[in-house]
């Protein structure tokens, strides 16, 4: 109401009055009471009157304010929550809880139980050595309390059920501690051999003496990295004594032939003996060394000139890094000066198969080891239909290899993968398409952009796969090649760090995880000075890192510098070598030309006599900087015969693929090492 306004606002300006007059608005009432007293004076009655009860109004207003407050708080809370979840804002709550990966969580119980067992071992049998401190953990405190001394020294036969991991005979020393712990732990590896020797008093002592009590060099895992490491150790330290523990139970062997050369041989006998013919006709075994090369374990400790011994059938389950002791799953242990973890990895399983029944699983192979190869080879001999799941290196190589093999036995191969083309995550799209066409031309049925949703067993011992696209496939055997899970069970039991991004044990550029402990090969997530932290799962890297670790174990302290390469052959006609980070998500520049007959893997091996491509580098003559053969003009339809693909990260070359171009790896290696950015990569390609 104008009247109330009057008291609050200043005198109207003359402009307003004129404006009012001009517009014909009758503002005479709004003269704020300063002009003639035409209005009657205000009275108390004109004061605003309460429209209702104060309380009710107050409540109403409060309700409104409360609602506003609630909405405001809710929105603020939601914002904070969204900020935290999206990772935009780091709240810096403090160092995160140690994460050990999914697989290890389930084994916690096992590991903990084993810990208790193995830890309590020392006091029992090594009394004479007066081994004082056992790292008795707090979990032991609980079992000690709960168990009574009634358990001790009972002969094994009387309690077979309660203690499958048969307690070691500790006759005259009924240490409640260990008895309690041992009878407690039920989920542990069983040692049936222990049960038989129930009569012997110091049964454990007998166990300990079959491997040395102490070795200067301990290598966990007997794969490619281990070989490179023990060779490097022996080269530096002539009389070194090296103990190698093989979880897989085999002498060290090369893995690449399992998916390549071994399938292309026509000599079944040789294949069964795991000998293969290289492309040039020379035969060799997949095993790195003959059995004689290795010193028998019993002799290692006393052999004057040292040696390398392989222990099979045991696994190391815990390392006491500080005290430098390794504990095995059969309760034997060994102390060391320097240790290398080269445990490699296990093939990744597919959940859809884990839940399938036993009769399906017997027709499924998770391909990695020699025994997997032998099994698959048997199946292939019978001329069946094999389905491969996975379109990466292993999957594609196996597809081509099996395709070749099954031609003779009238079997067939199907390959299923979620990417659009073979090697889809490695090669740029155009090359991946070309590779896929090549694989198809070998007679393999390819089903891209698919994965298996359901698996059932079908009649005649076959397996029925149902894909996400709705397609159904009935097959005799399934091979799963979907990646590798590094074997890091030791991390949790031994206090080692695991990398969450890449998986594997985290080590520095010198491959050290902790003092006197190194990791090499597939299981090592290391810091590459040139390319950043990464984990590489290739043969040459295993050798390079194994050798580096071996050298560092003998005191070199060198960082990882020699960039490892890798190669892949899709049959004898198409192959490529690569180095560095080769990830198809990076922008690439390819320089290509048409290939000639000289540019095939076969030709390379014929010329240099060496099938392991990492060797051909040294043997071939790379002194001249010119091309090894002349490129021809490209055809109308692009033919990706041969060429060089550069992978760029922030315009610096971080990876190179030499497509059907061989023996130029040293130059490629140099380019990566220099880490410069080049304007015209075709000049570099020359």
């Amino acid at each position: 109401r104008c009247g109330s306004l009057a008291s609050r606002i200043a005198q109207p300006s003359s402009r307003v009055a004129r404006h009012g007059k001009a517009r014909g608005i009758n503002r005479s009432h709004c003269d704020r009471g300063y002009s003639n007293a035409s209005k009657k004076p205000m009275t108390m009655n004109d004061l605003p009157q309460p429209q209702g009860s104060w309380a009710k109004r107050h409540e109403r207003m409060q309700k409104k304010y409360n609602l506003q407050l609630a909405v405001g708080l809710g929105f603020a809370g939601f914002t904070l929550f969204a900020a935290k979840q999206s990772g935009l804002v780091n709240f810096y709550f403090g160092p995160g809880k140690l994460k050990f990966g999914k697989g290890v969580e389930s084994k916690e119980q096992e590991a903990a139980a084993v810990e208790e067992e193995t830890i309590t071992e020392p006091p029992a049998d090594v009394e004479s050595e007066a081994l004082p401190e056992t790292p008795v953990e707090t979990p032991l405190a609980a079992p000690i309390d709960t168990e009574s001394a009634a358990a001790p020294s009972a002969p094994v036969d009387t309690k077979p059920a309660s203690a499958p991991p048969t307690p070691v005979e500790v006759p005259a020393k009924p240490k409640q501690v260990e008895e309690a712990a041992i009878t407690e732990s039920s989920a542990v590896v069983s040692k049936s051999e222990d049960a038989k020797s129930a009569s012997t008093a110091k049964e454990s002592a007998g166990k300990v003496s079959d491997i040395p009590e102490h070795v200067p060099y301990l290598i966990i895992g007997a794969g490619t990295s281990s070989v490179a490491a023990f060779r490097a150790i022996k080269a530096k330290d002539a009389k070194a004594k090296v103990l190698v523990i093989s979880g897989e139970g085999e002498n060290p062997y090369m893995r690449p032939p399992l998916s390549k050369e071994l399938w292309y041989s026509d000599d079944i006998e040789a294949t069964n003996k795991l000998r293969f013919k290289q492309w040039n006709g020379k035969e060799r075994s997949i095993y790195f060394e003959h059995e004689e090369y290795y010193t028998p374990v019993k002799e290692l400790a006393t052999r004057e000139n040292g040696g390398i011994s392989i222990v099979k059938g045991r696994k190391v389950v815990k390392l006491d890094v500080h005290k430098k002791r390794a504990f095995m799953d059969d309760r034997s242990e060994v102390s060391y000066d320097k240790c290398l973890i080269a445990t490699g990895g296990t093939p990744k399983p597919l959940p859809v198969f884990d839940n399938a029944g036993e009769d399906v699983l017997k027709n499924v192979t998770l391909f990695r080891s020699v025994s997997d190869f032998q099994r698959l080879h048997n199946v292939a001999q019978q001329g069946k239909h094999i389905t491969i799941i996975g379109g990466g290196f292993l999957g594609s190589e196996l597809a081509c290899a099996l395709g070749y093999k099954l031609k003779a036995t009238s079997g067939s191969v199907t390959q299923i993968y979620p990417e659009a083309g073979n090697m889809g995550r490695v090669l740029p799209e155009y090359l991946s398409k070309w590779t896929t066409e090549k694989v198809k031309s070998e007679g393999i049925e390819i089903i891209p952009n698919s994965f298996v949703e359901e698996v059932k067993s079908a009649k005649d011992e076959k397996v029925k796969l149902k894909l996400n696209t709705g397609k159904e496939i009935v097959t005799d055997h399934v091979v799963v090649a979907v990646g590798l899970e590094p074997n890091v069970e030791l991390a949790q039991s031994s206090g080692l760090e695991i990398d969450d991004t890449h998986g594997g044990f985290r080590v520095n550029a010198e491959l050290e995880a902790r003092s006197n402990l190194w990791v090499a090969g597939d299981a090592a997530c290391f810091f590459d000075i040139k390319l950043g932290r990464r984990r590489v799962e290739h043969h040459d890297h295993a050798i390079v890192s194994g050798r580096l670790a071996g050298e560092n174990m003998t005191g070199s302290g060198k960082p990882y510098w020699h960039q490892s390469m890798f190669w892949s052959d899709l049959g004898p006609e198409v192959g490529y070598e690569a180095i560095g980070i080769v990830d198809s998500s990076l922008p690439t520049v390819g320089v290509l030309a048409k290939a000639t007959a000289k540019d095939t893997p076969k030709a390379v091996v014929e010329a240099t006599g060496e099938s392991l491509r990492s060797e051909t580098e040294q043997v071939a003559d790379t002194s001249s900087l010119m091309h090894s053969s002349d490129p021809h003009a490209p055809l109308k339809g692009e033919d990706y015969g041969k060429g060089i693909i550069f992978y760029l990260r922030e315009n610096i070359v971080v990876g190179i693929v030499l497509w059907n171009v061989y023996n130029w790896m040293p130059i490629a290696r140099k380019i990566i090492k220099d880490g410069k950015s080049y304007d015209d990569l075709s000049e570099v390609a020359k």
């Binding site: 490179a228 023990f230 060779r231 490097a232 022996k234 080269a235 530096k236 002539a238 009389k239 000998r275 020379k282 035969e283 060799r284 075994s285 790195f288 060394e289 003959h290 059995e291 004689e292 090369y293 000139n305 040696g307 390398i308 740029p428 799209e429 155009y430 040459d540 050298e551 020699h562 922008p587 690439t588 520049v589 390819g590 320089v591 290509l592 030309a593 060496e610 392991l612 060797e615 040294q618 043997v619 900087l625 010119m626 091309h627 002349d630 490129p631 021809h632 003009a633 490209p634 692009e638 130059i667 140099k670 380019i671 220099d674 015209d680 075709s682 000049e683 570099v684 390609a685 020359k686």
Partner: protein, 132 residues
């Protein structure tokens, strides 16, 4: 004529013979360290040299090193004639491991020039060379 095309983030360059046969405009810097040979700059034997194959790391590695060291520092004429004893110990040791040191086996090749002091590129078995 070379031509280029772009497929998304991937660039492809097709080159012709003429363009590629011209010398490269970009030159890579020289190798900073030539690969180490059998004899190190200070005259010591480099036991990690791939030219020695598996001789240094095998079961007879120590015997081999003794005989080779003796040969290397020998001043007699002909060189090494005063090293009969270490050599005989080595041959005796090697005879105990025919499968490792067999000379006629297909799966293992002896390095051809173990007694020369020159660098060689022979590789006895699958050992990868170090670049420095």
């Amino acid at each position: 004529m070379s031509y280029c095309k772009q497929e998304g983030k991937d660039r492809v360059v097709f080159v012709t013979e003429e363009d590629h046969n011209a010398p490269a405009a970009v030159s890579l810097p020289e190798e900073d360290e030539p690969p180490a040979g059998l004899i190190q700059p200070d005259g010591e034997i480099n036991w990690a040299c791939p030219c020695l194959g598996g001789m240094t790391t095998g079961p007879c590695g120590v015997e081999f090193r003794e005989s080779f060291t003796c040969f290397h520092y020998s001043t007699a004429d002909p060189k090494g004639s005063d090293c009969f004893e270490p050599f005989s110990r080595m041959t005796e040791c090697m005879s105990q491991y025919p499968n490792v040191y067999g000379s006629k086996n297909d799966d293992r090749e002896m390095p051809k020039d173990e007694l020369t002091s020159e660098d060689s590129s022979e590789i006895g078995h699958s050992e990868v060379s170090a670049k420095a």
